[in-house]
Point group: C2
Chain length 409, copies 2
C-alpha cells in the first residue's frame, strides 16, 4: 500500500534506507541480545557486510557495545552485541496526587525508582524533582543521561508540548518542558499517560505485527491511546483518544465535563466506588483496592459494583470497536487485578458487537505505573534517536516556494 499524502512527503535519498535499516538492526539487538553480527544478518535479511557497517555506526554512537566472545564447536567465535546499558533516561510519571521518578536504561530496566512528592504548586514540585534528578545523576555518575521522558494525565500539544487539557491535574499554564530543560540541560519529551502505556507495550515488543490497537487505561478516569497503521494517532493538536468523555448513557450522572453519562462516569474506578456507595450507603468508605479485595472475597455488593463497572467498560469497548476495529484492545488499571473475574464480563459485553468479523482480542497490559514510566522513556528515546540521526545525516530541506504545492485549505 502506498502512502496517500505525497504532497507533504519528505524527499527521500539513500540515507533514508540507512536510517530505516539501522533502526531495524537496533530493534533486533534490543530483542535478541546478546546476538552476533551474522545472526543479525540472518534475522534482518541484510548482508553481513551491511550489518558490519551499521553495527560499527551503532557502536560509535554508543547505542550498543561488543560483549562476550562465544566459542562454538567449530569455526570462528562470535562476538556478541548487546545494548549499551550505560545510556539511561529519566522517566517522570506525573500523577494527580504524586509523581514517580525513575532511571531506566535502554533495555527497559529500572536503575532507580522513587515517589518524589505530593504535587501542589508546580513551581515547587518541579524544583524538588530537579533536585532529585541532580542527586540521581551523581549517584549514577558512570551513566550517560540521554534526556527526560514525561508522562502526564492529560493531553499535550505535539509541537509546543504544553498541557492542553488535564482535568485531574492542577498544573495549568505551567511549562513542564522548559522548566526541566532549563533545570538540567537535557532533552525533554512529554506525552499523555495512555500514549506512554501504549508506547511501552510497543517498546517491549508486544505489539510486533499489530498495526491497529487501542489501549484503555482505567483508573480514576478513562484514558485511551490509539495505534493506527503502526503509529500513535494523536489527532490534530494531540487531543485524540478522549473516549472517556463519550456519552454512553444520556440518563447517567452529570460528568465534570458538563455532559451527561460520559463513559468515565460508569466505567472508571471512581464509578465502581460510586456504585458501591449507592448499593451500600452505610458501609465504611473504601478505596478501589479495598473494593477489589472485597470482590475477591465474594462480597456480593462489591462484586455487583465492579461488575457494573466491567459491563460499562465493555459497552465502551464495543463503541471503540465499531469506530476503529482494532486488532487488539489492551486494558490497564486497577481492574486488571481482578481480571479473572471481571475480564470475562468485559469480554462478554464486547462480544455483543453487532457487526461482522471477530471482536478484537482483549488483553491486559502490565502494571500501569511501570508502563507509564517505560513509556515515558520510550517517548524520549524515539525522539532522541530521530534527532540523533538527523544531526548525523542532515536531511535535504525541501524547498517550498510560496507556490509550491496547492494547499487547498
Amino acid at each position: 500500500m502506498r502512502r496517500i499524502d505525497l504532497s507533504s512527503a519528505q524527499l527521500a535519498s539513500s540515507e533514508n534506507a540507512r536510517d530505516i535499516n539501522r533502526d531495524i538492526v537496533l530493534e533486533l539487538i534490543r530483542f535478541r541480545q546478546p546476538v552476533s553480527r551474522v545472526e543479525l544478518a540472518r534475522f534482518s535479511g541484510l548482508q553481513p557486510s551491511t550489518i558490519s557497517i551499521i553495527v560499527e555506526q551503532l557502536i560509535s554512537e554508543r547505542w550498543i557495545r561488543e560483549g562476550a566472545v562465544v566459542r562454538r564447536s567449530r569455526g570462528r567465535p562470535s562476538t556478541m552485541l548487546e545494548v549499551n546499558d550505560l545510556l539511561v533516561t529519566f522517566a517522570l510519571d506525573i500523577r494527580p496526587d504524586r509523581a514517580i521518578l525513575a532511571v531506566i536504561d535502554l533495555t527497559g530496566r529500572f536503575l532507580s525508582r522513587e515517589t518524589v512528592m505530593t504535587v501542589s504548586d508546580p513551581e515547587i514540585a518541579m524544583k524538588h524533582i530537579i533536585d532529585r534528578m541532580r542527586l540521581l545523576q551523581e549517584r549514577h555518575i558512570d551513566k550517560s543521561f540521554e534526556g527526560i521522558g514525561v508522562s502526564v494525565p492529560g493531553r499535550v500539544h505535539p509541537e509546543t508540548q504544553l498541557l492542553l487539557l488535564a482535568p485531574n491535574l492542577h498544573w495549568h499554564d505551567f511549562d513542564i518542558k522548559t522548566a526541566l530543560e532549563d533545570g538540567l540541560n537535557l532533552q525533554v519529551e512529554i506525552d499523555n499517560d495512555a500514549n506512554a502505556c501504549l508506547l511501552s507495550e510497543s517498546w517491549s515488543g508486544r505489539l510486533a505485527g499489530v498495526r491497529n490497537a487501542v489501549l484503555v487505561a482505567v483508573s480514576e478516569g478513562i484514558g485511551t491511546a490509539i495505534l493506527s497503521g503502526g503509529q500513535l494517532h494523536s489527532g490534530y493538536n494531540g487531543l485524540a483518544g478522549e473516549f472517556g468523555h463519550i456519552p454512553i448513557d444520556p440518563s447517567g450522572p452529570l460528568c465534570g465535563c458538563g455532559q451527561r453519562g460520559c463513559w468515565e462516569m460508569a466505567g472508571s474506578s471512581r464509578a465502581a466506588l460510586q456504585f458501591y456507595r449507592d448499593l451500600a450507603p452505610d458501609k465504611p468508605a473504601i478505596d478501589i483496592y479495598g473494593l477489589l479485595r472485597l470482590a475477591e472475597e465474594n462480597d456480593p455488593i462489591a462484586v455487583e459494583a465492579v461488575t457494573r463497572q466491567a459491563r460499562a467498560i465493555g459497552r465502551g469497548l464495543r463503541l471503540i470497536t465499531a469506530a476503529l476495529s482494532p486488532e487488539l484492545i489492551l486494558i490497564t488499571g486497577e481492574i486488571t487485578s481482578g481480571w479473572q473475574r471481571f475480564g470475562p464480563v468485559i469480554q462478554e459485553e464486547l462480544g455483543l458487537a453487532v457487526l461482522a468479523g471477530h471482536p478484537p482480542h482483549l488483553e491486559t497490559a502490565g502494571d500501569g505505573e511501570s508502563a507509564r514510566l517505560r513509556g515515558a522513556a520510550a517517548v524520549l528515546l524515539q525522539r532522541h534517536a530521530s534527532y540523533h540521526h538527523s544531526t548525523h545525516y542532515p536531511q535535504n530541506e525541501r524547498r517550498l516556494p510560496s507556490d509550491a504545492i496547492p494547499v487547498v485549505r
Copy 2:
C-alpha cells in the same frame, strides 16, 4: 517522528528513495500540469538531473508525456510535461438500487458515465456490467484501460476483497473481484464507498497537508472514513469507521442492526424523512430531495425535520471529534444541498465540544456520486501504481526464519 513498529518493517534500499521521489514527481505533475522539468526541480527540491531521469522513467511507463514547447522572452524553451490521458480506468459505483459505470482518466476527467441497471441478482447484474465495459473498451479503443476500481456501500476485507458487511446491498457471498477479473482480465480493486470519497478528496489535492480527517457520508445510512497520519485507517479486517451504528440515543428507535438509537437512526436522510412523517403524518410521501426542496421553500415542518437531522449529525460529529480529533471533517450526501441553512446547525452542535482546542473544520465534499467514482479510480490507481513499481524493482524479500522476530501474540 519515527515509525513505532519496526519489527514488521520492510528493509529499505536505495530503490525506496526512487519510489518515493517518483511518486512525489508524478503527484506534482498531476497538480501542476503542464509543467517543465526545471519547474519540477524547483517545486520538489530534487536536482534537475534527478528529475530528468525520473521523468524519462515516467514517460517510458506511459504515466506522463511531453506536451507543448513553450517559448518565453529569453532562454531555451521549456518542454511541458503532462499526465498521459490515454491511460484510463473503469470506475464502478455500486449502490443499493443501481450501479454507475464511468471511464475516468488519470487527471480525474470523466470520459463516459452511465447508470447501468437496477441491481437484483448479482450474477446477472455483473454480466450486464461486463458487457457494458466491453462496449466502452471498444468505444475508447485508443485508450489503455489500467483496471477497474469499485466502490461498494459496505465493508470489504483488505486482503480478499470480499464483502464483509453490506446491510443495504443484498450481494452477500458474491465475489465481485473475481467476477470482474475473469470477465475482463483487468486488475480489480474494491473499497468501501466512504473510503472512496475520502480517497477522491485526497486524489484531488484537497487534503494536501491534512494528516487527520474524517469524511462522513450522509445518505440512507451514515458511513465514515478515517484518515489517520495521512493514511486511510481501515482497521483490522477493514471494518473501521462504523460510526453509523454507534448508539447516540438509547431511547431512540430500534435500528436494523439490533441496537437502539444508532446515529444513523437520527442523522441519516432516512431519519429526516421519518421525522417529517412523524411531524406530518397526513402529508403525501416524499423523498429526501423533495424534503430538502420543501425546507428551502421554508416549509416549517420540513425545516424542523431536517434541523433535527442536522442536530443529530452534529452530535455524532462531537463524538467523532472526541475520539479522533481530526483537523477536518468532510460531509457528503444530500444534506449538503441545503448546506447554507443546515451547515450552521451542524457546526453549532459540533462547537459544543467540551474539550480544549478548536473544533475541527467542517466542510462539504463534492457530489457523492462523482466522488465515489473518482475515489474508485483512485483506489485502483494507487494499488496499480504500487504493483507497477514492485514489478520493475523486485524488492528484496526479508527472510524470516521461524525464530526471526518474537511476535508476542
